[in-house]
């Protein structure tokens, strides 16, 4: 009896051990590759900047104070860090506009793809994924070649006599938006397409049979059913767009800082690593709050519709 119990216990022990061993690689990766570096960033944000980059191991909340507040260098008054707020807001605004633009372009694209015959669908999918094979920087420079003053768009417009002088698109906000929408479009199309593909189009037909207008079908049948794809796509676009760095500086001219430029400045010429770390954490918190709010909101409206 006792031996049987022991055997069972040993088996259980072995089971526990095996479970730990088998999950060890995953745990190690999470610990060292994901959480570890973040913890270092967090710790650095509470240290004192070294004289020429790096940090001194001395506690200081100064970095966090200067994320939100700034001491005027001329009259020494403490006020809200207007420069940081402006830069944060610029990046958030760009991420939101990019998400809306890619959604507006991506939704019809995904619908078009999903309504093709099974064979041609693969071809369209293939075409959408092609840009992923190229480096982001190269894709951005391709856009630059198209919209610059001596670029393709202006050459055609001039040749057709539509304009008499090249239109300045490069280095404007429009240029940034064109680039961002182009770069992030596949990230929006793919998840929407994935849920659109599973959509039972007989439901759409049923809607028409019941005298629903096209718009009503879209709003009451298609949209609710592909909503998970829209949510996933929006998240996939919003997060990287918030940290976008290459596209805004190449197409926008780099006159106005984005969040990532501000952070880079602290680690480079600004030599204030703690502030850079604190800013990075602040961005993460913003993303997290925005995501939670978005997902909760999206979930609630689903309940209302259901």
């Amino acid at each position: 009896m006792a031996s049987a119990e022991e055997v069972a216990k040993a088996a259980e022990r072995r089971d526990v051990r095996d479970r730990w061993l088998l999950s060890a690689p995953a745990l190690l990766i999470i610990l060292f590759a994901a959480t570890g570096p973040l913890l270092i960033v967090l710790v650095y944000s509470f240290l004192t900047p070294g004289s020429y980059g790096d940090v001194r191991w001395q506690f200081s909340p100064e970095a966090w104070v200067s994320v939100f507040m700034e001491r005027d260098i001329f009259d020494d008054t403490l006020s809200i860090a207007a420069a940081h707020v402006t830069i944060f807001w610029r990046s958030i605004k760009l991420a939101i506009v990019t998400t809306i633009a890619t959604l507006a372009l991506g939704f019809p694209t995904a619908y078009f793809m999903a309504t093709r015959s099974e064979k041609t669908r693969d071809l369209w999918l293939f075409l959408i994924t092609i840009p992923f094979w190229t480096n982001l920087l190269i894709r951005t420079f391709a856009v630059l070649q198209i919209i610059r003053n001596e670029g393709i768009v202006n050459a055609i417009l001039l040749k057709l006599g539509i304009v008499s002088a090249p239109i300045q698109i490069l280095y404007t906000d429009t240029a940034i938006l064109i680039g961002m929408a182009y770069v992030y479009l596949p990230l929006m199309v793919l998840p929407i397409y994935a849920s659109m593909e599973k959509l039972d189009f007989r439901l759409v037909e049923a809607g028409y049979d019941l005298y629903a207008t096209r718009f009503k079908v879209l709003r009451r049948i298609i949209f609710p059913l592909v909503k998970p794809g829209v949510i996933a796509g929006s998240i996939l676009v919003f997060i990287p767009a918030l940290g976008a760095y290459v596209t805004p500086s190449v197409l926008g001219g780099g006159k106005n800082m984005m969040l990532s430029n501000l952070i880079e400045l602290q680690f480079g010429q600004g030599r204030n690593w703690p502030l850079g770390s604190a800013l990075s954490i602040a961005v993460m918190v913003i993303v997290m709050v925005a995501l939670l709010a978005y997902v909760r909101n999206a979930g609630r409206s689903e309940v209302r519709h259901g």
């Binding site: 020429y52 830069i87 003053n149 001596e150 001219g253 602290q266 010429q269 030599r271």
Partner: protein, 344 residues
């Protein structure tokens, strides 16, 4: 493939890599990108039977941060004059005493005892240059020897001016423009600097490094820039000229140092001596397009550089040159704030 052939293949591969390194020695250079003449390196490799490996960096801060972490395996780095004192102070460089090396006699007297490395105990001059103004004279024909091109842009150039976003260079230029001293903490001057910058920005089209291509294509009609870059632009379009601002312009020099953690110290010293030879110095210049501090190298310089006004500073402009210094951390902090204010 079975185990045996795999093992043989691996063995062969190992043999191949080790036989590649069969030179008498190695030298690992850590330098700015697109800065090291392959011809001069080949010559050095052949002369001393040393295998040279080059790794690129893109900024002084990157190089400093990486070397400070240690364990890089590099023997040599090429920091700018502003950073050399930091490298020395932080104990990152080896005192190789280039001042006593055979070829040191070739170093121009004004560079033989610089304030960033008194007595040349550590560093050897690699390249030197200036930061000034580049203008496309097809578009603007007026006087351009002033930072006013950037900070008080003439009408013809409004919306067509680029500024290279090198914080210290831009602040230096703005301080000179309002009549201050570099590294100043004078609040009156800094206020003027900030106001000048903020007022000037609407006339700029961009703040980019990519000036050679953009000036060539006509996206920019004027820019602040380094002289070597200006030379390349003029060779591509003769209407593009480089100007030395009369308010004062920055002089810089990059200097080759041997790292304290170097494994190939003797080879690194050989290289330090090697590049102070006039012919080799000219070879380096021919590639990176900047001047060097080696007397007698002009004989070997390529024809398009010998009398180039970008490389050889005209006598009339010489008095306005000023060696750029590293400002103390608290001053740097003020400048970062002004910079953030400018780019917000």
């Amino acid at each position: 493939m079975n185990w045996k052939t795999t093992a043989t293949a691996m063995g062969l591969a190992l043999l191949a890599t080790t036989s590649l390194a069969r030179a008498d020695g190695e030298l690992n250079i850590y330098n700015w990108g697109n800065y090291t003449s392959p011809d001069v390196i080949k010559k050095f490799e052949a002369k001393y039977n040393i295998k040279v490996t080059i790794t690129d960096y893109d900024s002084n801060d990157t190089a400093l941060a990486k070397v400070r972490q240690g364990g890089t395996g590099f023997d040599i780095a090429v920091p700018s004059q502003t950073y050399v004192p930091i490298w020395i102070k932080e104990g990152l460089v080896l005192e190789t005493d280039p001042g006593k090396m055979e070829n040191f006699k070739n170093v121009a007297p004004e560079w033989a005892n610089p304030e960033f490395d008194p007595g040349r105990k550590y560093s050897v001059p690699w390249a030197l240059g200036t930061v000034g103004v580049v203008v496309n004279t097809d578009v603007y024909k007026g006087p351009a020897d002033s930072w006013g091109i950037i900070f008080n842009t003439p009408d013809e150039l409004k919306g067509k001016v680029n500024v290279v976003p090198e914080m210290n260079d831009v602040i230096f230029a703005a301080i000179k423009y309002v009549g201050g001293q570099q590294c100043t903490t004078d609040k009156e001057v800094l206020k003027k600097v900030r106001d000048t910058l903020v007022a000037a920005k609407p006339n700029w089209i961009a703040m980019e490094y990519n000036t050679i291509e953009k000036m060539g294509a006509g996206d920019f009609k004027a820019t602040s820039d380094w002289n070597g870059s200006a030379l390349r632009q003029r060779l591509a379009n003769p209407a593009i000229h480089y100007f030395y601002p009369k308010e004062g312009y920055g002089l810089w020099s990059d200097n080759l140092v041997v790292l304290k953690e170097a494994k190939n110290v003797e080879n690194a010293k050989l290289f330090q001596n090697f590049i102070m030879d006039p012919e080799n110095a000219a070879g380096l210049s021919a590639f990176h397009r900047y001047a060097n501090a080696i007397t007698g190298s002009d004989k070997y310089m390529p024809a398009d550089m010998k009398d180039a006004p970008e490389v050889v500073i005209p006598e009339a402009d010489k008095p306005h040159a000023e060696l750029q210094l590293m400002c103390p951390p608290d001053v740097q902090d003020l400048y970062t704030k002004i910079w953030t204010e400018l780019q917000k």
